[in-house]
Symmetry: C2
Subunit: 651 residues, 2 copies
């Protein structure tokens, strides 16, 4: 028996600039109708009304919508509303502004601008490399100091730096470069720059170019994940991301998690193969960034990488052997910078690779990067930071203290181990709604392309939708008594057909299986149990958190509401949640933009206390209890309990 959506007055809603019309019920939610119509609107918080990314302009017609804190008085006056907070009253013409649309670029930072703006605001553009243009007096018989001394003299005078060193390779080019444009040249200096930005102390000249190239200064920020590698090309002169890319880590062929990767590294030539695999992945992303931006890879002057301890070891070619053996010691948590080219990364030959430091074998630079990127270390507010990925990581604390734990969630959140799971690229099913009468699905894909698979956030949205519609039970099983041809017996057991073969890019039905649901359930249970166990260890409960920062490589957004529905996130007030997308990448980016953040990362890595969960009995209990949707104890999820209570009982 249906309770929602009585079939009453139909209203026409026209979406611009897509020029799409949809017939909707009066009173229906504008965001949901847009999704149904295939109009892509970003909604980072999943329709909770807290993120403000789904702002639209009501060009004509009327909606019922409260003005929230995300809409300024001016905006409200202009007709701007949050789609998720608006009910359709009359026929409408709705304009979806560019910033609210899901674009084709797939890394989430820019779409989550509001969340990162809230969090990552306490920094100044102050990169660890800087370009110094100098005009030198030409050498004469009366002033024939060596070329390097002439350069040093000018840098001292014009940029007030001292203790200037030079990379040996630069010396080779120096004489010709200085003379090429009449003693005008630009020195790229790698340095710790003082906060007041008036002095560079102890810089090393790592590149010299003829003429003035100071307008051109690029950095590559990388998140090296077990499953996926994300990269951003940064313009350090403006503090902007100018291109983004993502790819599966080619190491996947050698094992899906860090433990199998370590095992592989111990085979003859294994470490070298793994290193080459990730370097190849990076180079492919780099090539894509170059294609998007038109910036030659050899003009990349600096690289910052964040990754878990195993990924970082392998990237640098360090043997991760002892990470797997008790007592689990890494070779080094802080790895000295090396020339990126020496590892095979195709950037400027002078560019150094900086790795964000780690805490321990299973608390890597990725989590340190996320903490530093979101500024959690700068605030007094008690914060829960969750990095949801193959290797899940949790931090609790504030500017004074931090505890951390990690748990292996498996690759489901990144589309791994899922029958039609794919990386968050064009054609990945990301948003999902289900018609409560017909059980027909409606979904949106990244890039509005025909579907080719399901990305991590899509998987959560689909399972939540199926659960809320009663298609899937709380133990993750399909309800076969529902009258829909979408549920059927497949080669891997029961499955629900999301898209029929002719409508897909892959020419096969795209389905979600019970095994997929089980994989997601175990993944979310590990995250939830890790979070709960760590909270209990320090005597806090989920309601104590003033801020919950969610990071993860889900594609454009994680729907917070749906993530609570499946039991991944605790059921607490939605306005405490902030989704920052790829937190590891965010920290790497800010460390490229601001030398201070790299210092912060070293400090934060030193202040974190690691809790080992792998042999913790409480963790195992919490994990088992969480192997239901949303949890064996439904009272832990009161709002989900309410939602599900409205379902017709189907037994």
């Amino acid at each position: 028996m249906m309770v929602k959506h009585t079939l009453d007055k139909k209203r026409n809603v026209h979406f611009n600039p897509d020029n799409i019309d949809v017939l909707a019920n009066e009173g229906a939610n504008l965001l949901e109708e847009a999704i149904r119509a295939g109009v892509h609107i970003a909604a980072s918080c999943g329709g909770a009304g807290v993120c403000g990314t789904c702002k639209v302009l009501i060009e004509s017609g009327k909606v019922a919508s409260n003005r929230t804190a995300q809409i300024s008085a001016d905006e409200y006056q202009q007709g701007i509303r949050q789609a998720c907070q608006s009910r359709i009253i009359t026929d409408l013409s709705v304009h979806v502004p560019l910033e609210s649309r899901l674009g084709t670029s797939v890394v989430s930072s820019e779409k989550n601008k509001s969340a990162t703006d809230i969090l990552a605001n306490n920094w100044k553009l102050n990169p660890p490399i800087r370009k110094c243009y100098v005009e030198l007096p030409p050498a004469t018989l009366d002033d024939n100091v060596c070329d390097f001394s002439r350069l040093v003299r000018a840098l001292k005078q014009q940029y007030h730096c001292d203790n200037i060193d030079i990379d040996f390779d630069v010396l080779k080019d120096l004489p010709l470069v200085l003379r090429k444009k009449d003693w005008r040249a630009t020195a790229t200096c790698l340095a710790r720059i003082d906060r007041d930005r008036t002095r560079i102390s102890s810089p090393t000249v790592i590149k010299i170019e003829p003429g003035d190239t100071s307008h051109r200064l690029y950095s590559l920020a990388l998140d090296i994940g077990t499953t996926t590698v994300c990269g951003q090309l940064l313009d350090l002169t403006r503090g902007q991301v100018i291109a983004e890319g993502i790819a599966y880590n080619k190491q996947i062929e050698c094992g899906s998690d860090v433990i199998t990767r370590i095992a592989y590294s111990q085979k003859p030539g294994g470490l070298r193969s793994l290193q080459q695999a990730v370097v190849t992945t990076i180079n492919e992303i780099n090539h894509e960034l170059s294609r998007q931006s038109g910036v030659s890879t050899r003009n990349i002057e600096h690289v910052t990488a964040a990754g878990n301890t195993i990924m970082t070891h392998i990237l640098f070619g360090l043997d991760p052997k002892f990470i797997r053996l008790a007592p689990y010691t890494p070779s080094a948590c802080f790895i000295p910078p090396v020339k990126a080219g020496s590892l095979g990364i195709k950037v400027g030959r002078h560019a150094y690779l900086f790795a964000i430091p780690a805490v321990a074998s299973y608390v890597g630079g990725d989590i340190v990067s996320g903490v530093v990127g979101t500024g959690m270390h700068q605030r007094k507010a008690l914060t829960l930071y969750m990095d949801i990925g193959t290797n899940g990581e949790i931090v609790i604390g504030n500017s004074d203290w931090m505890v951390t734990a990690s748990c292996s969630a498996g690759p489901a959140f990144e589309g791994g181990g899922i029958k039609h799971g794919i990386i968050a690229t064009e054609g990945a099913i990301e948003t999902f709604a289900i018609d409560p009468l017909s059980y027909e699905p409606e979904f949106g894909t990244i890039g509005r392309a025909r579907p080719k698979g399901i990305c991590g956030s899509g998987l959560i949205n689909i399972v939540a939708g199926l659960l809320e519609a009663g298609v899937v039970s709380r133990d993750g099983q399909f309800q076969t008594n529902i009258a829909t041809r979408r549920i059927r017996q497949g080669s891997d057991g029961l499955e629900y057909v999301l898209a029929w073969a002719p409508d897909t890019q892959i020419g096969r039905d795209i389905v979600i299986t019970e095994i997929d649901i089980d994989n997601l359930t175990r993944a979310k249970a590990a995250m939830y149990a890790g979070c709960r166990t760590l909270s209990e260890s320090v005597g806090v409960n989920s309601l104590d958190f003033e801020q919950v920062i969610i990071a993860g490589n889900f594609g454009s957004s994680l729907n917070i509401e749906k993530a609570i529905t499946v039991g991944l996130l605790p059921d607490i007030p939605r306005d405490r949640f902030l989704f920052v997308g790829n937190g590891s990448l965010l920290g790497a980016r800010l460390s490229s933009f601001s030398a201070d953040r790299l210092d912060d990362a070293l400090r934060v890595a030193g202040m974190m206390t690691n809790f080992e969960l792998s042999e913790n009995a409480d963790f195992m209990n919490n994990y088992t209890a969480a192997l239901f949707l949303p949890h064996t104890d439904i009272n832990e999820f009161p709002t989900v309990s309410n939602k599900l209570a409205r379902l017709p009982r189907t037994e």
Copy 2:
């Protein structure tokens, strides 16, 4: 008509441990008789009595000898005398102690111990690298910090160092090495070590070895000359030279002086060929040092090299192009240390190469090294420092000021451009005497081997001897009216036969030609004129010098007396001269033994004022005036004038 050596009483002199007897005239000089007998005794000062290297023990018999400052009362009591200061009175039995004998090793440092002891005494063994043995607490679950942090913790505790960094390559080995001998290991730290030797500041761990290897710490000191390359293997734990080697710089095939080398470097691939040539030379010497000492080249942890600016540029692969073009600017006077292996030098792969800094294009690190090695920069005494070689260099000054100049002398001093000139190796004719009646030569060779050629010091001794005997006139021509078959017309003009083919290693007559004498004359004239011009520029004359330090790569010694005879050195009191052998190598060695000396070298390079001689009219005048033996104005050389006045007039 003969005036010297009346044929009176003959005395038998027996030399131990060589077991050689010689019949000598009563009253004859003991050193000269030893040379005549082929008994090798070091005499750095050439018999002037000031160096003390020719000490012998009179086992029986009597000599007439004054006690000089070089002989202590105890030594005098034991019967120790300076051979050069002793006249033969009765039959003698003479023991030549090991330290007074010319060995087969050919670099002069050890034989000139007294001279370097006098000069280079104000330093402490305080190498820029140090081995730190640590015993680490094994990793446990309660203490599982990363391996690098564990090492750092121990270094801080046991050696009180801070700001510890690690070479990336060492990280790769670290986990296995630490565990190999139960967490006992030795870290090689490259650091600036404070003078009080209780703290190492900001060291970088460049090597890690299992167990305690702190007894083993070797450095390679190099002098990279235009003509010859010299190397010493140093034991840094004891501050001792343990092996020495010398070889012609293989770049000679590409030109004999720095200008032709620069020209060659501008050909396609030329710079690379030159670099490979000198690296091959270094590796051959290194192989020889390893053979002598039994120390594997891969256990060499550190390299210090001194050379002129062009040689240093080429060694590092820096283009010397602009050194030759006005206004003559080097790429860099201070080159940052690089891994020696990256240039192809076969030492430990972690070893860094440090180059002694230069002053200008034609005042190189070799001269700075010599100044610092001899401690000239530490004393108030007005000092003349002359480095006699292919590229002659002159410094005048003291601890407060220094002026310097360079002049191209050509390779004659190193056996180059001389018909039978060879490097100072076994079989090189080094000492020379001539029978005043028969004009038959008597000579000593390095290693007492059969002769195969003439080294630089031999050339000076031969020309001086021929001049003193009247065989050669002051304009460098053979006196053909002398009744000796030794003077003859050869393929290159007139020549004097030093050794007949059957007595040589080469199976050909070894001769000295008028062209050879002319080459030496031009070389010594350049040095003398440079010295004179620079002195005049600062208003001092040769008698003002309180100390004259002579450096040069002459083989075992330079005979000061003979060098004055040919007009290479000014005719001033002999006790002001100190011959230090290869000064450039001395400074490189001391910079390996003491980190402070490398600091000093940077400071000294900064305080030197360079005088350009190449277009100086005074220099040309002084040069032309010096193109006689010893000089066109014989009054500049009063003691030589006296000697030559005793010659019978042969016209």
